[in-house]
Amino acid sequence: MELRILATPHEQQALLDLPWDMPLEDWPEWYLVALPRGISRHVVRFTRLEGRVYALKEVVQSFADREYRLLRDLERLDVPSVQAVGVISGREAPDGEPLDPILVTRHLQFSLPYRALFARMMRRETVERLIDALVVLIARLHLLGFYWGDCSLSNTLFRRDAGAFAAYLVDAETGELHNRLSDGQREHDIDIARVNIAGEMMDLAAAGYLDDTVDPIATSDHVVERYHTLWSELTEWEAFDVNERWRIARRVERLNDLGFDVAELDIVTDIGGRTVRVQPKVVDPGHHSRRLLRLTGIDAQENQARRLLNDLDAYTAETDQQGEDEEIVANAWVMDCFEPVMRAIPREFRGKLEAPEIYHEVLEHRWYLSEQAGHDVGIEEAAQDYVESVLRHKPDELAILGGTSGDPEETQPFRIPWDELG
């Protein structure tokens, strides 16, 4: 059998050098990123090639091919998920014993497993924000017809998003892409999420990592409630009297606040003309991040974008440019505010947080310093103080792969392989 590497040309080159004729479990440490890793149903390892970190998962052919295709589809559909790089098949040990294929995914920079977020203690607000991010991700997936099948905190990665989080799908093994999901599929998916999240929370509680004020069951119930609220807002018909037409604009605003653009709205007036019914037809997530990208070229998460846009608004008012063209003011803001802050960050600290997150934190820091000083300290002064008093002491978050405990079993759910049965 011949070794087959299905991947993008650039990455194929780098992948060639790995010891594919060895079971992944036996790979020597020097190929691997020595960080704690999860116990998975399959063998999973991380490796570093040309400065990038990759996750490798050994799994039977049909599963590897399926998950690879699914992740590529999700990427095309612009779903926040890890990126599939390739599938290595036709592996054979030197004695001719065939080895299972390996699915290669690119590690998501600046992403955090939920376990890394409770290094000391998971507080209630953190839990709520993780849940919010996860619910938005599930709703986005469901809008696209994607059934997850095993949604959990463990199967998600989180990126900081202006004090909140943005959630990324990591494991698509049980996923299915349909034209449209039935209510039963959505309900079942959310029920699986509920049970998984409750289990994960109870486990954190049993380990003493969960704040006493967090109730695992209530938290998991919240997931269901929030999902339903969001889903109704995204998809349901709303009927009102013809005199209340302002409610159309209100509905669009509410969706924008939730981070969704309304590309199409279905509006129906009954025959008598007294009742108007509206339903969003096409909603696209990323309202604020798209606007920020268009205006400034800065790629940010949704809440970060909202925060930066607010700062842009404040800048517009302060510099008295309300009448100016939006693009021109945005360009001036990048040069006067955003770039000076970024220049103030020493190169060696740039792996600690993503640029938009740093800007958000500097804005917070500026507010805090100004309050103490009793007057507004400038953004540049705030940035310098932030670097010395805050950023310097933060851990590097460019590539955090596992829990913080030395023993991964201490913090992570077990997965039981079938071959251990009996």
Binding site: G184, E410, I416
Partner: protein
């Protein structure tokens, strides 16, 4: 525990003309292990998902016991999709791992304890209830995961290709484990697979589907011995049944040099439907080498012999001057025969086989339905 009834249940995917599942009528008995099997796209997974509530039912009904669940949300159906999720939590005891889903559902504490204890007894886990999963062996951990599904005491277990991510060797040992646990529990189980061997070894009864339609539902042995149509005949059994279209000539069926006996009942049934051909099938073990004095037979040139020690299989092609014509009318271009080990013919040899008495299968060329001899 309960029966499951599909009552003309139909699923048509939007934008498609042919139903994915077409008027499925199926009654599954209380405590039965029923396997849905068929090739890709036959509707087996869709049928299971209709029962689970994941697929809409466009016509007909589905009942669990006396309850009509056709339009009920999945979580109200009292079913468990087994092995879909088998995470165990390392800081929780075995008992907590088994019972936590009940806690979420608001089951009273005393009842959770009782149900966990009952399941632990079934799974031989009683002495481990206070331990953490880490202290258990792999097999014990697996049983804890099964315990999670069992304590819910669902009316029906649903399993959708649970072994598909395993290699062939593991599949064999695991399917035995699942089947024996199901028998101990006695919970009605519906199991989906594309693998007919898995179906035959696990199911009390096996339901064969093709193109969304039920072909036959019966015990594994009946499916094997009396396939209802030519599709089931070809699908069930490994190696597959030899199937070809023969010309009817009185009480003989002939194809090239091959010549087999045709029972009178079959001959008249073929005549009655106005055909002069009939589909004939015979399993590899129904073929025996004949002596030259016997009438008729199936001459075969041996291409390959598989010696397995306990048995041997001969793979060949039809022999004789009219062999070409014969190949066109065969389901597969190979004739497979099981022969005594250590006495198998050699490659290139010509062997004439005859079919053991009463072991030929006959099917209508028009409908594909079985014709009883």
């Amino acid at each position: 525990m309960a029966t499951v009834t599909y009552d003309k249940a139909t699923r048509i995917y939007p934008g498609q003309d042919a139903p994915a599942v077409d008027s499925l009528d199926l009654q599954i008995e209380d405590g039965e292990f029923l396997v849905l099997v068929g090739p890709s796209g036959c509707g087996k997974s869709t049928s299971l998902r209709m029962l689970a509530g994941l697929e809409e039912v466009d016509a007909g009904a589905i009942r669990i016991g006396d309850r009509d669940v056709t339009h009920m949300p999945p979580k109200d159906r009292d079913i468990a999709m087994v092995f879909q999720n088998y995470a165990l939590y390392p800081h929780m005891t075995v008992a907590a791992n088994m019972g936590f889903a009940l806690k979420i559902a608001g089951t009273p504490k005393a009842e959770i304890q009782q149900r966990v204890m009952d399941a632990a007894k079934l799974l031989d886990l009683v002495e481990y209830l206070d331990r953490k999963p880490k202290a258990l062996s792999g097999g014990q951990r697996q049983r804890v995961a099964m315990g999670r599904a069992i304590v819910r005491e669902p009316q029906v277990f649903l399993m959708d290709e649970p072994l598909s991510n395993l290699d062939a060797k593991l599949r064999v040992s695991t399917r035995t484990q699942i089947a024996s646990l199901q028998r101990r529990l006695g919970i009605t189980t519906v199991y989906v697979t594309h693998d007919q061997i898995e179906a035959m070894t696990m199911g009390d009864r096996v339901c064969v589907l093709k193109d969304g339609r039920l072909q036959q539902v019966d015990t594994p042995l009946k499916l094997y011995d009396k396939p209802a149509n030519v599709f089931v005949a070809g699908f069930i059994g490994s190696p597959a049944m030899n199937i070809a279209t023969f010309d009817v000539d009185g009480e003989r069926a002939k194809l090239g040099e091959a010549d087999v006996h045709l029972p009178p009942a079959v001959a008249s049934a073929v005549k009655a439907e106005g055909s002069d051909t009939v589909t004939v099938g015979f399993r590899p073990e129904s073929l025996v080498p004949t002596s030259s004095e016997d009438v008729g037979g199936i001459p075969v040139t041996v291409d390959l012999v598989e010696e397995l020690g306990s048995e041997a299989y001969v793979y060949g092609h039809p022999a004789g001057p009219k062999a070409e014509e014969q190949s066109d009318r065969m389901r597969s271009d190979t004739v497979i025969a099981r022969v005594e080990p250590r006495m198998a013919p050699h490659k290139g040899e010509k062997v004439t086989f005859s079919v053991k008495d009463g072991e030929s299968h006959f099917f209508s060329v028009k409908t594909g339905e079985r014709i009883e001899a």
